[in-house]
Symmetry: C2
Subunit: 613 residues, 2 copies
């Protein structure tokens, strides 16, 4: 009897949520009501059935349970739930998808109860995994993380990256809720309503899998309770649902994805829904008032480098992570099974509890980092620069979560040598520059790399650090500073013939070219553009005005890299710019042979300078 009363209230709440979904999408004239309706009972039970624990007045409470809508197109449901919780007014609901409304077509963090921006499918589970990992291993809090998954999006490989890693880390605080409504955007999914097909896969990946009727509250509650009790395994509730559930003429019908009801259809739907109690509001259970142990930042150890000893910037990256950790105790470090190449292993050895092996699964790594950021951490994420391309969608999406993430791509450019083009990062600068408000750093020596890692940790936002495989000479003193947006003029005279702007391995070629040209009586200016974005426009413009021409040199394809960054800064200036960049398909060979082959070596610079003057 108690049970019955409980379900009755939930049923009324679910009806209210359905009403909100229909009202907001019809008002918007677009959106995804059917994908929202299928998950309504699952989510209503979760939030208002005393399963989910969340202090809605203190949404930042560190022990709040987390809920991620991986199927971001079900945003009308997300907004409707929080309306049913009394946190969004009906008036505000009707601003769905309108310019300036926090209720966007797919959730972004402009909506205060969205944990992260979603809408590119197959990302929410990885984000949730980051949050669950944080709970179990970093903050050591009992909160649980729930992820609402669509069945269509289970075809994204990133899901299975997350699946395997969640099992590997024994995340029994992570619960997936799979809304198997059978229909994708343009028809049936690969498995339709074959719940066992999903169960087999999910179980084989080491999860506890349960199949239920997603519209039966008894089954739903039983599953949530079972999931809460699973030990050392994440749990997946695989729910058979009906797309459009509650409105007979759109239920389980193809052609109704991403489509709002028109006014007439809406009126018919409301009739079907019957009386809606618009005054009822759901209550969410509060979490225990637990907080993570307080971390007090300590002074980092001073930087020391032997100026006589060349060192690869990738090694300096590892050293820097270890050095600055006391100052940034919220740091966590992730690496995709190449920590002995990126040298994040230097951090791992010092702080094994803050290092997480991600194995070769870059997409999941990027979104796990986002999940960790969402719980207040500063994630440093490393792999070969080339392989970060694997996570471009995740990186792109993280900007809409206003994320604070640090990516490090090692093995930049053709100068890696013998391993050949597959391992060469040659489009990474273009890729990261095209992220709004990103910071792109490209140190040329160990000292500047170390300092830039520290700058990256301090900066709020997405930062990319490009490192080099080979040892390079130390250029700077440990007293030098490298603010984001700065540059270093390394060689300068009053009568410089031209200016060479570079960073990374090719900066050393520029310095060598300087020496040779000096002997011939041709002075050139050399600028270390360690901050590719934002760049030091003033210094570049000064050089443009004081010298005849600029030459940019980069171990990167010509598009979107240092050359175009400089061109953008000089868009309204009149100084010619000559771009030296990788223009031929790279191959295996010695680094010096490849720099020569691509025309980004000392001799290519000298030749270009002589051509110009």
């Amino acid at each position: 009897m108690a049970n019955k009363t409980k379900h009755e209230k939930l049923e009324r709440l679910a009806k209210l949520v359905r009403y909100f979904i229909l009202a907001s999408t019809t008002e918007a004239g677009s959106g995804h009501p059917t994908s929202s309706l299928s998950a309504t009972d699952l989510m209503t039970a979760l939030l208002f059935g005393r399963i989910f624990r969340f202090d809605a007045c203190h949404k930042e409470h560190p022990n709040n349970d987390r809920l991620i809508f991986s199927k971001g197109h079900a945003s009308p449901l997300l907004y409707a739930l929080w309306a049913a919780a009394g946190k969004v007014s009906e008036e505000e609901l009707l601003t769905l998808r309108k310019f300036g409304s926090p209720l966007e077509g797919h959730p972004t963090v402009v909506f205060p109860y969205a944990e992260a921006a979603t809408g590119s499918l197959g990302q929410g589970l990885s984000i949730g995994l980051g949050m669950a990992l944080n709970a179990k291993y970093v903050d050591k809090l009992p909160y649980k993380t729930y992820v609402l998954l669509g069945d269509s999006e289970m075809s994204e490989g990133s899901q299975w990256e997350a699946m395997q890693l969640a099992a590997h880390y024994k995340l029994d605080n992570l619960i997936g809720v799979m809304d198997v409504n059978r229909l994708g955007q343009r028809g049936e999914t690969m498995y339709g309503h074959d719940l066992d097909a999903y169960k087999k896969r999910v179980s084989s990946f080491g999860w506890k899998a349960m199949t239920i009727d997603g519209h039966n509250f008894d089954e739903i509650f039983s599953a949530y309770r079972k999931a809460a009790k699973v030990k050392d395994q994440p749990a997946m509730i695989i729910a058979r649902t009906i797309k459009g559930k509650g409105v007979s003429f759109i239920e389980d019908k193809n052609g109704w994805h991403g489509k709002a009801l028109n006014r007439d259809e809406y009126e018919r739907a409301l009739k079907e829904l019957g009386e809606v109690d618009k005054t009822i509001r759901g209550r969410i259970k509060k979490p225990e008032d637990l907080r993570p142990e307080k971390q007090t930042p300590q002074q980092a150890a001073p930087l020391t480098y032997d100026r006589a000893k060349p060192l690869a910037t990738r090694k300096a990256y590892g050293h820097a992570l270890r050095r600055i950790f006391p100052q940034f105790p919220n740091m966590v470090v992730l690496d995709a099974e190449v920590s002995n190449s990126t040298y994040s292993e230097i951090f791992q050895e010092a702080h094994p509890d803050r290092f997480f092996e991600m194995y070769i699964a870059e997409q999941n790594m990027a979104d796990m980092a986002l999940g960790l950021y969402c719980r207040g951490k500063i994630p440093f994420v490393s792999t070969f620069a080339a392989f970060l391309t694997r996570a471009y969608d995740q990186i792109r999406m993280s900007q809409y979560s206003e994320a604070n993430l640090k990516f490090c791509g090692s093995h930049a450019g053709v100068s890696i040598g013998e391993d050949g083009p597959s391992q060469m990062g040659l489009e990474d600068l273009a890729m990261f520059r095209a992220i709004l408000n990103s910071v792109v750093l490209y140190p040329s020596d160990a000292v500047s790399c170390d300092k830039l890692v520290e700058e990256a940790a301090r900066h709020e936002g997405i930062v990319y650090i490009r490192t080099t495989r080979k040892d390079t000479p130390i250029l700077y003193s440990v007293e030098d500073n490298f603010p984001i947006g700065g540059s270093k003029v390394l060689r300068k005279s009053d009568n410089d013939a031209t200016t060479v702007i570079s960073a990374g391995i090719t900066l050393h070629e520029a310095l060598a070219a300087y020496e040779d040209l000096k002997k011939e009586g041709i002075p050139i200016r050399v600028i270390d553009l360690y901050s590719v974005k934002p760049l030091d426009r003033d210094t570049i413009i000064e050089a443009a005005r004081e010298t005849k021409a600029l030459i940019t040199v980069e171990d990167h394809y010509p598009e979107g890299g240092i050359g175009e960054a400089v061109l953008s800064a000089l868009a309204t200036e009149k100084t010619p710019v000559h771009l030296l960049a990788v223009r031929k398909t790279p191959k295996s060979g010695k680094p010096a042979e490849l720099l020569e082959y691509e025309g980004i070596s000392k001799s290519a610079i000298i030749q270009k300078v002589k051509e110009i003057i």
Copy 2:
């Protein structure tokens, strides 16, 4: 007894292959001998045990079996096998990893027996899937496709995208060989030698899975024979192997990934190997001389468009695919479950046998397309522009296979409106421009879109076509031509104050600005830059010289797009360029509101023109 003799020859061949692996990597001073040695027995048995059928004198024979090394770092094994087959001399083997050698650190198509470039892990299975799909559904040939997989790379989600789709398409001509050598680059994999962990996963994804000892020829042959007989399912041979097998002091040892033996170690290894018969060569069984049905190109239907009726370029894309198919009978069309948005469904309706649903799995889609290209097809691949970022690593890698692939990204830019930033392609131009020798097309109306799809089909190489969600007016006549590398000057006078260069949705804003400015007596030039790469440098330079300034307008982030492309073309010119682009985090809203908000609308253009003059 017959069996025994056979194995004896194979054992001698395997010994020769091991010798080649060690000799070439020690000579190179780097490379991956241990990862090659673990798979030596598996591959020797395959090639020289009358399983694999390949006419080595006619490597282009359409009925040759295909072999892809997904674990590309085992390239020394690949080269050694072809040396053992008599196709690479020992002298050539010793050029491994040297500048100019076809034997690169990771395979590229410079090596004639590499099907495709690999080395970014987790891509070979998808490539193989494309070849297997081609065999079963397009060319209708009995050849089989084998893919050598590493255990480490099974953590890439892309593998599971391929797994599910291979089962979905019942590809019983696809055989995976998983070399479970337990060790990744920096230590043990997630599952070590737990073969059952892999078997469970593989079976649950619908494959026939077998576990064997990968160094036991009886078990290896039994598995290959069983795999050949499986019906309606792909088969996976999961082989327990020893990394470094054959050289005791590196066998199954951590710290030996990607490391060649030094001379002393090499001598020790050779002693262990014992006498090697360097004269023996393996024979590969020839395939049946079957060829696909000949396709004769027909004239495509003439293009017809009603000039009065606006049409979205995404729809024109679908119409064009259907129209040009008779002319390009090798076309295949792939789409990631959004064919009713990209409008590739128009092609699907007309030619269902040449359309393949890829579901929401963009990584696999891109590499499947590569596999289809490898078998002579012209794949057109579509999804939202935003979601092509998901496949950037695959797209990047395909350039090293010298691929002929056509990508279409729909829903470009903020002008998609209400769905919000997750669905907006805003870095796609940057991403595709940074691919060496890529072509980037951005039509503004249905006619040019149709013609550009035809140009794309005709062009050999990687082409990107960016389409727009909204209907746009028809600008051109069906007689107009749109060569790659061209542009159209739409408005021009002798006294143009400035030139506006644009493409896509913002070109229509530029044309509207032209009308308003004309009324005010301010003539401007307007250029349709439909070919963003390569671009029409002559026309742009002419405009730069004839008008005071250039304004670029694009529905894309400022980096790597039209603005920077124009800057690159004008790098040594003196005309100022003003870039109008998306500079604020986009949101949901009406297309017009968003163009206005981002400063890429008619009014923003007018304002900028007035600022300049």
